[in-house]
């Protein structure tokens, strides 16, 4: 049987070599094709779910010739992808985390781009009685007092971090006081809305994803337009000195487009159901 063993072994090695060759070839070919003018942008699921990229990327391609490949994750994950050097640009909406990223030297500069706003979604029946309140802090305190069902994204995303900040602002120590009424699902905005819709619960969502969402059920916007609900987007080029494979020229071109007057106008023109979803503010020094 040893002759058979040896011949089998040789065949196995040849087979593995062939397999690696095929994989590498596919890789080389697809990379070569895309290596022309493409970048990887790590962004958030909320931004993707809002349809923003479906709208803007073809425009980007037209104006700059750059093919943008978006990896959509939670903010925390997106920044980690940048830290690993697996993305060229990070585009998220959690200023504190972005500044931290900057402080670590993972990027050299942060550019504000645009903002959208959060809205408090809840069931028409409104068990916590928050509809029409002007102050989000009151609404949240009421939800906690009434122990009304609330869905949290729980995924280190910008939305999640904004939610946590708002609880804090409302004087609620959510870690201590949360109970079965507070469900942390660890998923994206769309998933959170699905769960809220199915269980008639409150949820904090960005307006863009809400407007785009197709499964609203009995939910509606109950609280909006509080300045505390504004959601700022920042964009950063991953530091090419730390990660030499980053496509710094193309990445910077993409950033430059978004903050240019043309880009800012393109952003403002994105509308769903007649509603503008994103407000450009690259020129705002405080953004």
């Amino acid at each position: 049987m040893t002759e058979m063993a040896i011949s089998r072994f040789r065949r196995t090695f040849r087979a593995r070599a062939l397999a690696l060759l095929i994989a590498a070839t596919i890789g080389a070919v697809s990379n070569a094709a895309a290596a022309d003018r493409s970048i990887v942008v790590a962004s958030t699921t909320s931004t993707q779910d809002s349809g923003f990229f479906d709208y803007i990327l073809p425009i980007v391609k037209e104006r700059t010739g750059i093919t943008v490949k978006v990896i959509a994750q939670g903010t925390g994950q997106a920044l980690d992808t940048g830290r690993r050097g697996d993305a060229d640009v990070v585009f998220v909406h959690a200023k504190a985390a972005e500044l931290q990223f900057l402080a670590e030297g993972e990027a050299l500069k942060r550019y504000p781009v645009m903002y959208n706003d959060f809205v408090l979604i809840g069931p028409k029946a409104d068990p916590a009685g928050v509809k029409g309140l002007k102050d989000i802090r009151q609404a949240l305190a009421s939800i906690k007092d009434k122990k009304a069902a609330f869905i949290s994204r729980g995924d280190r995303s910008g939305t999640h971090m904004a939610e946590l900040a708002l609880w804090k602002d409302s004087g609620v120590d959510i870690e201590q006081t949360k109970g079965p009424w507070y469900e942390s699902i660890g998923q994206g905005m769309g998933a959170a809305l699905n769960v809220a819709s199915a269980s008639e619960a409150y949820v904090l969502s960005d307006r863009a994803t809400w407007v785009n969402f197709r499964n609203k059920g009995d939910l509606e916007i109950l609280v909006e337009h509080d300045k505390r609900l504004f959601n700022q987007y920042g964009i950063m080029l991953v530091n090419p000195e730390k990660h030499p494979t980053v496509k710094k020229i193309l990445g910077q071109e993409f950033i430059d487009y978004l903050i240019s007057p043309v880009g800012q106008q393109d952003i403002a023109h994105y509308k769903v159901d007649g509603q503008q979803l994103f407000y450009p503010d690259a020129n705002d020094p405080n953004a």
Partner: protein, 230 residues
């Protein structure tokens, strides 16, 4: 793809985005199944036909690996292919190649284990006759592979089915990038999270259709095998 059109409408009007998604799914899954066969079949035959220390252990491991959780494979491949990982210089993360690699890893144990079973069963049947007819080693292997071809094709189709159905690994290593690494399963995951449930369901039906077709084909192959070879 437009958000609120049903998948069937897109299918009928030949929406290019839908077709590219279906095409990519098939390309990745087929490639993975073929590569997995190149690796798994000789491996399975080798284990079936040779005696070595720890053989039973290897067989147990092979069978256990059939149930490898896709997300774990996805994570492992992701960490390996990441720029800060050992194979980062290949630059394969977030490309279809990474998805092929992940699915190949998932499918190879299935093909190897099923091949081993087929070849070993056939070997036990044929062994005496091989000895009696004084058949040489190479010839024996070739005969086992050829006479077992219907079962081996079934193994390949089983591997294909497994790859076609999974999403956990390819969504991690591929990134679900529109136009590049979005397949039927990852698109379903995305559209569900966007609340486009009717589109997600439609895509699901198309996917199920393909899986059912493959199963029917596998059944047909078995029947043909029984008819031709008895």
């Amino acid at each position: 793809m437009p958000d609120h059109t049903s998948a069937f409408h897109l299918l009928l009007t030949g929406d290019p985005a839908l077709f590219s998604i279906v095409g990519l799914s098939l390309a990745i899954t087929l490639t993975a199944a073929v590569v997995a066969s190149f690796i798994g079949m000789p491996l399975g035959a080798l284990v079936a036909l040779t005696r070595f220390r720890g053989r039973q252990f290897v067989i147990v491991v092979m069978n256990a690996l059939m149930g490898l959780p896709p997300v774990i494979v996805g994570l492992a491949v992701y960490l390996s292919l990441s720029r800060s990982g050992p194979l980062g210089s290949w630059g394969l993360l977030f490309t279809p190649s990474a998805m092929v690699i992940a699915q190949t890893i998932l499918v190879t144990p299935i093909i190897a284990a099923l091949t081993r079973q087929t070849i070993e069963d056939l070997w036990l049947e044929y062994r005496d006759e091989f000895s009696a007819m004084h058949v040489g080693a190479f010839r024996r292997i070739a005969t086992l592979l050829w006479d077992g071809r219907f079962s081996l094709v079934t193994a390949l189709l089983a591997g294909f089915g497994r790859a076609a159905a999974e999403v956990g690994s390819i969504i991690i290593v591929g990134g679900n990038i529109e136009g590049f690494t979005r397949t039927m399963t990852t698109a379903i995951a995305l559209e569900t999270s966007k609340g486009n449930l009717s589109l997600a369901v439609g895509l699901g039906v198309i996917l199920m259709g393909i899986v059912v077709l493959v199963s029917a084909f596998a059944w047909g192959v078995r029947r043909a095998g029984e008819r031709f070879a008895g």
